[in-house]
């Protein structure tokens, strides 16, 4: 074990953190810097951060699953505490004073008379092999930076507009690439007249490899024009997609692999049938639907690649430089050490989008012109049409109430496609998009059901509530018509939407206040506290729901993966019954992420997550038809605009001394439920299918419930 892979000192009074996890707009670099500076007792301004790079930073997997702060936060805390301990020991020797007599301020160590510094003691030397855990990390009372709203390290450059993203990269002799995709996933390229594009000004190469088609040009606008010419010219053998209208019937009709989920973990073996208990006095059931959603990053995916001397260098906004390196190497039949992946930031990704796929595209184009770096950007239509979507989902719930109004039986059956197809090195297959189109194709691997705790489909399927009996079932359907992978929250979006809507339906059935009804079933004091805090923040109007005369209030709650950040959200809405429009008039969020590292960053994440999920809930669905995905821009895939955004207040419940909990995805499930519940409160109708478009609202208002 060594400190060196994580922390480097330098003679000029800086400390560099080698952070293999990546900034995706969540503020992770700043949070880690706060932790390290606190443990080292140095001013925050001394910290420099080195970005993920397979030749510089330690091996790490993906920055995903709201895991970063827990994994690397504690690694850096311990490494920094160890470094501090070792340097104090060195100082004691140098000053010939007992360690206990030393005082440490901003890297300067004194015994009252003589002094030395980290920079003098360590310079830019490495520590070498050291014992892990020799230093005692500080207690929460000793922190001066952790817990403070320190401004983000990366924002000054972005706000000044200086180059910050892969898209802004400018390498000597760089050329520009574009790719031309087929109409649908399984379509093949029948014919293409490459000359029409090849003869255009500035075109360097038309690259065709099976059904993979791309072009390189000296200038970006030339690459655009050439790509358009190729697009016009390409003849595809189209394998149609199924009809959008049969999305949910297909999902239910297909053969599924079924697992009983116990304590958040899928079990092998038979799934028991639903049995209504003898003490049931009332049984309710409902079905909830969530369509495919997009990450829809504001900037389409981009990557740069340089092929030189049998080595490939890639600059990417991937969430994992190491997994991407391995995946590129295995897709291109290279050794890992022939590939280097360096991270540069991209637009917010919210999960696994096209960032990795565009890297293989760029690599394939770069290989056509060794020695010249290629910058490849997807178009808006590429991004909307070819990213890996958040999977559609259908959840059936059935629950019974006993004579005391307690839930005595709970059933939750969730059907969905895979939520995880991130690229990994594999033989004979590849999850990188272009691989399947090449002359020697590597097909995508057959999706497998995740068996881990709170994995994809069953993430948050198991409610935190205390029920006398529960039966939670995951129905994994392997063959999605659309390419799907991890989108912020994964299965928690559909599961919590169902659970928290159904809790409201049950409360309504016995004329109970929905919060009071939840608290009756909730033992965890931190869960209760966030619900109560959100209610207070929102001026919760107690009582039964459904008669708000156009105005309503609703709550949604979850603890992400039953292990991470606790979140309760309250929405106030107004529903215009004539137009079917839902107006979000106010939002209150309460969150408990354990010990808070940076309250401003945490509040920004929680609010951003709620607003993104509100956009999914009211507006978003990926449309497709036989000719492919038809949601190809912001008109055909509308999202919430500024005028539709409610004011948001965020209440944070700090837990000094408790572990910090990942929060980036915690709001995604509670939000749709809170809005659905508020709409019910306003106009007495239940919306059980996202998105809640005006047409759906009007249809619900005219249907008997």
């Amino acid at each position: 074990m060594s400190i060196d892979p994580l922390i480097r000192f330098s003679t000029d009074g800086h400390v560099t953190l080698m952070i293999a996890h990546v900034e995706i707009g969540q503020g992770i670099l700043t949070a880690v810097a706060q932790i390290a500076a606190d443990e080292l007792d140095i001013n925050f301004t001394r910290i420099l951060v080195e970005r993920a790079d397979t030749e510089r930073t330690p091996t790490a997997s993906y920055t995903s699953g709201s895991n970063s702060i827990q994994i690397i936060g504690s690694a850096f805390r311990q490494a920094a505490a160890d470094a501090r301990h070792l340097l104090l020991a060195k100082a004691a020797a140098a000053l010939q004073a007992p360690v206990e007599s030393l005082r440490l301020t901003d890297g300067t160590i004194t015994d009252g008379e003589k002094e030395t510094t980290y920079w003098a003691l360590q310079g830019d030397q490495l520590f070498g092999e050291t014992e892990l855990g020799v230093g005692q990390p500080k207690s929460s009372e000793e922190y001066t930076l952790v817990g403070q709203p320190i401004p983000r390290l990366d924002l000054p450059a972005k706000i000044a507009g200086t180059p910050s993203f892969v898209h802004d990269l400018c390498l000597p002799d760089m050329v520009h690439g574009r790719v031309i995709r087929p109409p649908t996933y399984a379509s093949t390229l029948e014919s293409i007249d490459e000359n029409t594009a090849a003869s255009l000004p500035g075109v360097i190469a038309v690259v065709r490899d099976g059904s993979f088609l791309g072009v390189l040009a000296e200038r970006e606008e030339q690459a655009e024009k050439a790509a358009e010419a190729l697009r016009q010219n390409a003849r595809w053998h189209v394998q149609p997609l199924p009809a959008y209208e049969s999305l949910y019937t297909d999902l239910l009709a297909k053969t599924s692999q079924d697992f009983l989920v116990v304590d958040g973990v899928p079990q092998d073996g038979p799934v028991p049938p639903i049995e209504t208990p003898a003490n049931a006095v009332q049984t309710l059931e409902a079905t909830y639907r969530k369509p495919y959603h997009m990450h829809a990053a504001l900037g389409p995916a981009a990557a740069a690649a340089l092929w030189q001397d049998e080595h490939l260098n890639v600059w990417s906004h991937t969430q994992g430089v190491y997994p991407l390196r391995g995946s590129l190497a295995s897709a291109l039949d290279l050794d890992d050490n022939q590939v280097r992946v360096q991270h540069l930031e991209g637009p917010g990704c919210y999960g696994h989008n096209g960032a990795d796929d565009v890297a293989l595209d760029a690599a394939l184009l770069a290989r056509a012109r060794p020695g010249r770096p290629v910058l490849l950007k997807w178009s808006r239509a590429d991004e909307h049409g070819w990213e890996a979507y958040g999977s559609a989902m259908l959840v059936k719930t059935q629950a019974s109430l006993d004579e005391h109004g307690q839930i005595c039986d709970w059933n939750h059956d969730a059907w969905s496609y895979t939520h995880s197809s991130r690229p990994r090195p594999m033989a004979g297959a590849s999850n990188l998009l272009a691989a399947r189109y090449r002359e020697k194709p590597l097909p995508p691997p057959t999706p497998k059901p995740g068996k881990g705790s709170h994995g994809g489909i069953h993430r948050n399927a198991d409610p935190l509530y205390a029920f006398a009996r529960r039966r939670v079932v995951k129905h994994f359907v392997p063959d999605s018509p659309l390419h799907t992978s991890a989108l912020r929250g994964l299965g928690a979006v559909g599961n919590v939407f169902a659970i928290e809507s159904f809790m409201d339906e049950l409360a309504t059935a016995i004329k109970a206040d929905p919060i009071e009804f939840r608290l009756r079933h909730l033992d965890d004091p931190r869960a209760r506290a966030v619900i109560e805090a959100a209610a207070q923040e929102a001026n919760w109007r107690s009582g039964r729901r459904g008669n708000g005369q156009g105005r309503g209030q609703g709550l949604g709650f979850a603890q992400y993966k039953n292990a991470k950040c606790y979140v309760a959200v309250v929405f106030d809405v107004e529903v215009d019954t004539a137009s079917g429009q839902i107006h979000l008039t106010n939002t209150a969020i309460a969150g408990d992420a354990g010990q808070i590292i940076n309250p401003d960053g945490l509040a920004n994440q929680l609010e951003g997550g709620v607003l993104q999920a509100a956009s999914w809930t009211l507006k978003e669905q990926v449309h497709y038809g036989p000719d492919g995905v038809t949601s190809r821009d912001w008109d055909t895939y509308p999202v919430l605009r500024f005028a539709e955004i409610p004011p948001v207040s965020v209440k944070l419940l700090d837990q000094p001394g408790a572990p910090s909990l990942g929060s980036g995805e915690a709001t995604q499930g509670p939000t749709p439920a809170a809005i659905a519940n508020a709409v019910f409160d306003a106009v007495g109708v239940r919306l059980r299918e996202m998105p809640f478009t005006p047409e759906r609202v009007k249809a619900a208002l005219t249907q008997p419930q």
Partner: protein, 156 residues
């Protein structure tokens, strides 16, 4: 197919030998190295590429170069520099009004055009002005606060 085009950007004149049909955004980014304006859609739907043309905030992604040959163009780089930020940039920093920051440059440009006309915009007026912008990270409220903060600072 290239022509010599004169372009005035951030107070400087440039003579460029380029395709007059090329989108202004690509010329700003690739010829002049001004990377603040971003490509988001190329369809005038998202606002990421906004710049000022004679004081008006316009999307540069679908504006052909030939259309702005005699215009006065300002990009975010022309509003402020890292060492000398524009009050709007200072306000965005003070409010930490970004997550990924990909939308930021375009928003500040539109906010500048708004504040030039209306130094005390209401929340509704700000939202209306930003209607052609998308922030996918959900930073909207902070962005609105930043514009209000800049407005009150500039009014002083």
């Amino acid at each position: 197919m290239t022509a010599t085009i004169e372009l005035k950007v951030n107070g400087q004149n440039h003579h460029l030998d380029v395709d007059p049909d090329a989108p202004l955004l690509l010329i700003l980014r690739n010829n002049l190295g001004l990377k603040a304006a971003k490509f988001g859609c190329g369809l005038e739907q998202c606002g990421a590429c906004k710049i000022l043309v004679d004081g008006q905030a316009v999307p540069s992604c679908a504006t052909p170069l030939s259309a702005v040959a005699n215009a006065d163009i300002t990009t975010l780089e022309g509003l402020g520099t890292p060492a000398n930020l524009h009050p709007l940039q200072r306000a965005f920093l003070a409010e930490q009004a970004a997550q990924c920051g990909y939308c930021t440059a375009g928003l500040i440009i539109t906010a500048k055009a708004l504040l030039d006309k209306n130094l005390q915009p209401s929340r509704a007026e700000i939202c209306e002005a930003l209607d052609a912008h998308i922030c996918r990270c959900g930073t909207h409220n902070r962005i609105i606060c930043a514009i209000q903060r800049a407005a009150s600072e500039m009014a002083r």
